[in-house]
């Protein structure tokens, strides 16, 4: 014959012997994550980004040879058969990659 168990009694026993879990590591982990997830204030974020952009512009201006770069831009283009062929090949490659990507995402 199947035994019946007194569920209420079983839960009462579990309740009376419930273990206590130490807070030592758990508590500090929770507080650390909360601190890490705190959003950076808007003004702080903007200031940091502006400063970074200014420093970047300064470095680029002093180190980058802008005059040489401008001088190296071609002033005239000659469109020959080989250039046309290269453009056609480039377009074909892009189309093939786009088709492959679309088919792959559908699978």
């Amino acid at each position: 014959m199947k035994k019946t168990v007194d569920i209420n009694n079983l839960f009462a026993k579990a309740r009376n012997s419930e273990p206590y879990f130490s807070n030592r590591r758990f508590g500090s982990r929770v507080l650390t994550v909360i601190k890490l997830q705190e959003p950076v204030p808007f003004w702080k974020e903007v200031t940091i980004e502006m400063l970074g952009a200014l420093i970047g512009c300064g470095l680029a201006y002093s180190f980058f040879p802008f005059n040489d770069l401008i001088a190296s831009i071609p002033t005239k283009f000659v469109v020959g058969p080989s250039v046309l062929l290269s453009i056609a090949a480039g377009i074909s490659c892009v189309i093939v990659i786009a088709y492959w990507a679309a088919e792959r995402s559908r699978l």
Partner: protein, 187 residues
């Protein structure tokens, strides 16, 4: 500050963003919540602690919305319940197979292992896994945490009649699963 009430600590966190006060709230409620989540997850300690951690982080973020109409612990259980439901929804297939695996292994071991208090807690948790999430939560809150039907209704956001039905069905299923348990064996 350790003797301050939950409400006083909450006000301090909301007004001054005091992390230490929230730390005291965590210390006060973490053990109960982690135990409950172990019961909800088939004694999966890592998952239970992750859910408990997420619950406290969510609680910290939403503390401004806590109105103090219910106990802080009930409010925490509500967040934990939502966290658990969304976790199981996301990992439904994986969880189903995992719980089946646990139940299979467990039912083979049930009655054979040495009976002790920790076995009782684990066996309860394993058996609770057989219940759907809502039933599991309702049964645990009612039988273990001794909350009233009204409190469970507020935590789970479901009608009173549904809570009663969930508890009755859950108890019936648990009775079948735990038929080999003898409470007198617990040492």
């Amino acid at each position: 500050m350790l003797s301050a009430t939950d409400q006083a600590l909450i006000e301090r966190v909301v007004t001054t963003d005091c992390h230490d006060s929230f730390g005291i709230l965590v210390e006060r409620h973490q053990s109960d919540l982690r135990y409950s989540l172990r019961q909800m997850t088939g004694w999966n300690e890592a998952l239970a602690d992750d859910l408990a951690q997420e619950t406290f982080i969510q609680a910290f973020k939403s503390l401004k919305n806590y109105q103090g109409t219910a106990k802080f612990s009930s409010w925490l259980y509500r967040i934990a319940y939502n966290q658990m439901v969304s976790h199981f929804r996301l990992a439904r297939n994986r969880e189903v197979s995992a719980s089946e695996e646990i139940l299979k292994t467990h039912s083979e071991q049930l009655g054979l292992s040495t009976t002790s208090e920790i076995d009782l807690h684990r066996d309860l948790a394993y058996s609770m896994k057989a219940l759907p999430t809502k039933q599991r939560m309702a049964v645990h809150l009612h039988l273990h945490r001794e909350l009233t039907h009204a409190e469970i209704t507020a935590i789970m956001g479901i009608p009173l009649g549904t809570v009663k039905t969930l508890i009755n069905r859950g108890k019936k299923t648990l009775r079948d699963h735990l038929s080999s348990w003898n409470p007198e064996d617990v040492v």
